[in-house]
């Protein structure tokens, strides 16, 4: 039984992690594409149109990868988490089905039109298809986040005698207090990723002294979007989410902040340290007193419950992983603000395009927003443990009763092999597209 749970979780974690490499780019990138296309309508400069079309190519590769790795996510609810699906399908089935019907369809139909239909439709309609792709991909995020928000903070339900969750109030799914902050935080994070990608490609062109016109455009756009989104990511949306966790999931809050013991007065904020699960303390700790209480409650002396206040089976089951994910996310987020602010300063002083060190830094930073996004999701998902539906349905009670661990290991290995191949192909294709660049080919 323990084995089954382990492999089911491992397979889901692996497939969702790999999947989320792609949507986090496409959601943010669609916004930047709409921006480029809009600029083109305004000023009629060909380079903006080429930029929009170039990034739509990158979008399309990512979208294909997102689709083919996304279908397994929907299937896995049934294949590996059958009991969970049976008990909660009447509720989360609503939001998941809406995602498939509205947003996914919108996105895939209009993506094809954007790519193939520019000459057919004229510029205004072409802009509109781009905008609909953006709308589709953000609506997709909205429905997935609504599903997740219900699992984090269940609302609008009733539990029957046979354990089934029944929907009581449909609109409550969308007015869930967990949803809006999580959605905004998630979308901004995807804008950060795509801004870094855009800026990083720009830095690459400028450093290579190739297609520099586009390189400078990408750098400028990426840096401005990157700075604004990184700041909004931390404040107010990051702050808002942390307060939600403190309010609705105090046990996870203590675990992610690394508070083992409750302090009498204000709680300190931990900057560095390694959870020592044997002695229940942080090794090598560096912390600032009372700051956590202030950030969470705007009161320096407000008490925050530590992990000692909760029963063992109420605490997340992998505290170090949760703690590290959270600290990596926050740490990287802070670095992003710093680098982007510096880059904007250099841009203003007209030195950005010639500062080699900064350009190299921007170029090589590109994997880190991906890491920050994914660790951010780990915080949400590890923090929800040991529950699937917080406080109501335990993860161990949600797995498929008939699927043995041997079968899951077999399919997990298959997914690992297949996704390695996919990842390789993806890199080759994106590399090829970047190498060709946005300038129209002259045959």
């Amino acid at each position: 039984m323990e084995d089954m749970l382990f492999y089911d979780r491992l397979q889901f974690a692996f497939t969702i992690t790999f999947h989320y490499i792609f949507p986090q780019l496409t959601m943010g990138l669609s916004l930047l594409i709409v921006y480029f296309k809009w600029k083109y309508l305004r000023n009629n400069l060909e380079k903006y149109n080429n930029a929009a079309k170039f990034f739509m190519k990158i979008f399309a590769i990512n979208f294909t990868m997102g689709v083919v790795t996304g279908i397994p996510m929907e299937f896995q609810f049934g294949t590996n988490w059958a009991k969970f699906s049976e008990l909660t399908g009447g509720i989360i089935g609503q939001t998941l089905a809406m995602e498939g019907m509205f947003s996914f369809f919108l996105e895939s139909s209009f993506l094809a039109l954007f790519i193939f239909g520019e000459k057919l439709m004229g510029q205004k309609l072409h802009f509109l298809t781009g905008f609909l792709v953006f709308l589709g991909s953000w609506a997709s995020g909205w429905f997935i986040l609504a599903t997740n928000a219900w699992m984090q903070h269940p609302v609008g339900y009733e539990i029957l005698d046979n354990g089934k969750f029944v929907l009581q109030n449909f609109s409550a799914l969308f007015t869930n207090p967990w949803l809006l902050p999580a959605f905004l935080h998630n979308q901004l994070a995807s804008v950060v990723t795509s801004s870094f990608v855009v800026a990083s490609i720009g830095a690459f062109y400028v450093l290579r002294n190739k297609q520099t016109e586009y390189g400078q455009l990408f750098l400028k756009t990426g840096v401005v979007f990157g700075l604004v989104s990184s700041i909004l990511l931390a404040f107010p949306t990051g702050d808002w989410n942390a307060k939600n966790v403190a309010k609705y999931q105090p046990a996870s809050f203590a675990a992610m902040e690394g508070i083992f013991e409750t302090e009498d007065a204000g709680a300190e904020i931990v900057l560095v340290g390694q959870p020592n699960m044997v002695e229940k303390k942080l090794d090598n700790k560096i912390a600032v007193p009372n700051v956590l209480s202030f950030l969470t409650h705007q009161e320096w002396d407000k008490q925050i419950p530590g992990m000692d206040q909760f029963k063992e089976d109420e605490l997340p089951d992998n505290i170090p992983a949760l703690y590290y994910s959270y600290h990596i996310m926050v740490g990287l987020g802070t670095i992003f603000i710093g680098v982007m602010a510096l880059a904007l300063f250099f841009l203003w002083r007209k030195k950005l395009y010639s500062s080699k060190t900064l350009l190299w830094t921007i170029m090589f930073l590109v994997p880190f927003p991906y890491i920050a996004n994914i660790t951010g999701w780990y915080v949400a998902e590890l923090g929800r443990q040991p529950y699937l539906v917080y406080g109501l349905l335990r993860t161990s009670d949600g797995i498929s009763p008939t699927v043995s661990s041997g079968n899951t290991l077999f399919t997990l290995l298959g997914f690992v092999a297949l996704y390695m191949l996919l990842g390789l192909l993806f890199l080759v294709l994106v590399g090829k597209t970047i190498n060709q660049g946005p300038k129209p080919q002259t045959h």
Partner: protein
């Protein structure tokens, strides 16, 4: 309300098989009949432009099934664990084959992805047929052994095959001689459907030859269909009761037969769209007849301990189903509107369309 959602989901599922069905079929034809590079390219393109919006219907059907009949979704998806995951892998292989073949202009690169597109299409057609065969045949619900259920009555787990390969075994696997027959019917049907799509959408040099192929495959299909009806009687003696008790359901087999008969005139048809329409009727009639033979059961039990899954004992709450109608109908109409817009904008032959991003 259950009946209403059943009809919506069955329609979406039928749309999936009609739409993605032609691109599976295109892959099968591509594998066996396309020899020249120009033909290979244009045939791959006739599927490549459409596969992703066609697969949206699968995602929509899956989502609605999850919402409306969660117990069925949970039971079937976990019970058919291995074949479903294998289907996912095949879908991935097929998609990357289609998307990536045009990215580099080396012959070897194209050959690899052509084969992956073709073989995955063939296996998918086979697996979807086998899946339908399993649904029609029924499963050992509750995993009954020696008269005792091993699991809760609505759960089961099927191995890929049982050593007897017989549908009459007490614990049949996914693959047995009955489901193989249904699988072959699916392959032949979709090959015909795909060939019609190629004739409709391309100017490939094998279009005329394909009409002959359709004719021959159609003969094979008639034989397989008759054979399957006979063996169906052995597997399930009550298989056709629904059509006797509810005579109006006969409409579905009639749709199938219309398609079958119409395709014999493939060489005389004035417009290419007629051939495609007949094979559409074939796919539609095949799916709906199978579902109608079971209704309101959606997964028969082959033991007499646990009752079959029906649309009534697997559905979500009344409130959930009715509130979902509000957005479901809008979504359902939108699905059709998107499809029509897309098919109109990309109407005509695909040979000249710009592809390969």
């Amino acid at each position: 309300m259950e009946v209403f959602w059943y009809i919506i989901i069955a329609t979406v599922l039928a749309m999936f098989f009609i739409l993605d069905g032609y691109d599976f079929g295109t892959g099968i034809i591509h594998l066996f009949f396309a020899k020249k590079e120009e033909d290979k390219e244009v045939i791959a393109k006739s599927a490549g432009l459409f596969w992703d919006s066609n697969e949206v219907w699968l995602v929509a059907a899956g989502g609605m099934l999850f919402m409306a009949f969660p117990t069925f979704y949970a039971s079937v998806f976990s019970g058919f664990y291995l074949p479903l995951i294998i289907v996912l892998w095949l879908i991935i292989f097929r998609a990357i084959g289609l998307e990536f073949r045009g990215q580099f202009h080396y012959q070897m690169w194209k050959d690899i992805w052509d084969k992956s597109f073709g073989v995955a299409s063939l296996l998918l057609a086979l697996f979807f047929g086998i899946a339908l065969g399993n649904i029609v045949r029924g499963v050992n619900l509750g995993g009954v052994e020696n008269g005792v259920s091993v699991y809760e009555g609505h759960y089961f787990f099927l191995p890929l095959w049982d050593s007897t390969f017989s549908p009459l075994s007490k614990t049949p696997g996914i693959i047995d001689w009955f489901t193989i027959i249904i699988g072959l019917i699916s392959v032949v049907t979709l090959a015909i459907h795909g060939a019609n799509w190629i004739i409709l959408k391309t100017n490939s040099s094998i279009n005329n030859k394909l009409k002959g192929v359709i004719f021959k495959l159609n003969i094979v299909l008639v034989i397989l269909t008759l054979f399957s009806i006979i063996v169906w009687q052995i597997v399930n003696p009550n298989a056709l009761d629904n059509f006797i008790n509810r005579p109006y359901l006969i409409i579905f087999p009639i749709i199938y037969i219309t398609g079958l008969v119409g395709l014999f005139f493939i060489k005389k048809l004035k417009k290419d769209i007629y051939g495609f329409t007949f094979s559409t009727l074939l796919v539609l009639g095949g799916i709906t007849s199978s579902l109608a033979s079971l209704f309101p059961v959606i997964l028969p039990s082959i033991n007499n301990i646990n009752e079959s899954l029906t649309i009534y004992n697997t559905s979500a709450s009344e409130y959930g189903l009715s509130v979902a109608l509000n957005w479901g109908i809008i979504g359902f109409i939108l699905l059709f509107v998107y499809m029509i817009i897309q098919k109109r904008l990309m109407g005509g032959k695909v040979d000249k369309m710009d592809y390969g991003h």
